[in-house]
Amino acid sequence: MLGLYSMMAKNNLMKKLIGMNIFQWAIILYFISIGAKRGAQIPIVAQTHSHGQEIALHATDYINPLPHVLMLTAIVVGVATTGIALALLVILYKRYGTLEEDEIIEALKK
């Protein structure tokens, strides 16, 4: 929400970008928190066979790794977004010499 606020309210484009990042990371943290389970261990199966007998695995003993894996992808996506946005900001700054939104709009109208 903090991120969303700064995206809407801030005039400086850099601050908007930072707001966007906060928003994204918040969602990533939200996903990671899904996977957590009380009293569970890391999702590595140490031993499935002992003395030729299979040991039953309980899903509740392990935290859910899937959200974490998904978020690895989402982090990559987030980094790429930031990269593109920063590149655009560089272009904007070179062209207009400012990153304040209203000043750029003024310059565009001319």
Binding site: K16, M20, I27, I91
Partner: protein, 502 residues
């Protein structure tokens, strides 16, 4: 068998070729274009092959990536609905790419051509992927692939493009995040991300508030991406400032694929009873779409920039698709699906026309179009085909989809929506006849001054080359053919694409 691999090939071909193109571009710039056209032709063959297979078998194709079966692996599911959209995307992207070759030579510096083609292919990869996938998270990733390339490719445009693209980044990211959050809610409730799996699991939690919140996030997310009315603010800027070939590609395809995603989620993943019976989702969507259509038509009337006007027309067209979805009966949904395909052709036609006019005259101002039909008769004939189709004149395709949409709204007893659709058709007629009047009947008084006014570009604008005109003519023929054969398409494809519960 190669047939079995088609759903993967259609994604992998443009993805790999985009890497090849970016490397080949360093070595020899002229190689890029043939490579891209080759890749897209291959995609078109794949898409038609997929449609043929689906029609022959009469059941969806399932493709499991890496042999992992769902719900663990990523599955690509292709039924009548996506097969049809895939073919539409493939045809339009191939034609527009051929058109793009000469258009970008004028608008983008030579050194950036390889990057342009790379981004173009990546974007198309994303579109194919969004359409073909059967996995919610995979859809998110491909949505972002398509969006990133769209951001970058728009920024290649003229003066204001970088700023428009930045705003698009901000909005697009909010949309993507909202979609991701919605997916998160679904995942918590069901523990699955596979669409077919969700179809079975979701009804257990239909009364949960969390599902409703997730659904709302989801609609808002996709709504931003496809530019439906209150969320369309980024769209006119971004598409107006983009290079003309780019807007001719993005405008028809990206928004339509978004509309496809909404249909897929509302009617396949969710039971129709959720969106209609349990919560008044369709009513709300219908009225928002109705307001949006009227608003967009008004805004379009106020524009003097031709391309900007088309952007607002596009927003209105998306409103039509949403109305079809909101009617939520067989007629309405037939109309919506038919309109997705038709609108790809109509918008491609209009945006390529705007690009061609810009190519020849260097202007997009409607009031400078005086008597242009004398110098570019074919282009304006195509413009009339596209415009009349959007207005909805019988032999052209726009009429048939509007016909079904209106039938759907009548059947749903949404009389307000019927009135809005008829009214907006009139508004569109006014809109386009204004341009037609200027182009055909206004005396060419300005003609002597125009070159001076626009002399600052410094170049004499040549006539539109054949490699741009031929794809445009093909799109125009496509509009007429889609209109004539719309009955066949509905009977053999769309009729099976609609969920049987409706």
């Amino acid at each position: 068998m190669i047939i079995e691999q088609l759903p993967a090939l259609i994604i992998v071909t443009p993805l790999i070729l985009s890497l090849v193109v970016s490397v080949a571009g360093l070595w020899e710039r002229r190689l890029c274009f043939p490579l891209v056209v080759g890749a897209l032709t291959a995609c078109l063959v794949c898409a038609i092959g997929i449609l043929a297979v689906v029609m022959r078998r009469g059941e969806p194709i399932h493709y499991f990536f890496g042999g992992w079966h769902p719900p663990w692996g990523i599955e690509y599911t292709i039924d009548y609905l996506n097969a049809l959209v895939l073919v539409g995307v493939a045809v339009i992207s191939l034609l527009v790419t051929i058109y793009a070759k000469r258009a970008i030579e004028r608008e983008i510096p030579d050194t950036k051509h390889p990057q342009f083609y790379t981004l173009l292919l990546l974007h198309i990869t994303g579109l194919f992927g969004i359409t073909a996938t059967g996995d919610m998270f995979n859809l998110y990733v491909l949505l972002e692939v398509a969006s990133f390339s769209a951001y970058a490719i728009i920024a290649l445009g003229e003066q204001g493009a970088a700023f428009a693209a930045f705003r698009y980044v901000i909005f697009g990211t909010i949309g993507a995040c909202a979609y991701l959050l919605g997916t998160g809610y679904f995942y918590i409730l069901t523990g699955s991300l596979n669409m077919a799996d969700l179809t079975h699991l979701l009804p257990h939690s239909f009364y949960s508030k969390a599902l409703l919140v997730g659904f709302a996030f989801f609609i808002v997310g996709i709504g931003i991406k496809m530019g439906i009315f209150p969320l369309h603010i980024w769209l006119p800027d971004a598409y107006t400032f983009a290079p003309s070939a780019v807007s001719a590609l993005l405008a028809p395809l990206f928004t339509k694929v978004g509309a496809y995603v909404i249909i897929r989620i509302m009617f396949t993943v969710f039971d129709p009873s959720f969106a209609i019976g349990l919560y008044p989702v369709t009513d709300v969507l219908g009225w928002i779409a109705a307001i949006g259509i009227l608003f967009a038509c008004m805004m379009a009337l106020a524009q003097s920039d031709f391309k900007r006007m088309l952007c607002y027309v596009l927003v209105a067209e998306m409103g039509y698709v949403i109305i079809g979805i909101a009617s939520a009966n067989r007629f309405g949904l037939t109309g919506a699906i038919l309109h997705i395909i038709n609108d790809m052709f109509m918008m491609a036609c209009l945006f390529t026309v705007s690009g061609a006019i810009f190519y020849q005259t260097g202007t997009r101002n409607i009031y400078r179009f005086r008597s242009l039909h004398r110098t570019m008769p074919i282009i304006f004939a195509l413009f009339i085909v596209g415009a009349l189709s959007v207005v909805g004149i019988p032999p052209l395709c726009g009429f048939f989809s509007k016909w079904y949409l209106i039938l759907g709204a009548i059947q749903a007893k949404q009389w307000g929506l019927v009135v809005v659709m008829l009214l907006s058709s009139l508004l569109m007629a006014i809109l386009f006849f204004r341009v037609i009047e200027i182009a055909y009947f206004a005396p060419p008084t300005d003609q002597v001054h125009t070159p001076h006014k626009h002399g600052n570009t410094g170049t004499v604008m040549g006539s539109v080359p054949l490699s741009m005109v031929i794809p445009m003519i093909l799109i125009g023929i496509g509009i007429v053919l889609l209109g004539i054969f719309s009955g066949v398409i509905i009977k053999h494809i769309i009729a099976f694409a609609i969920p049987s519960t409706l």
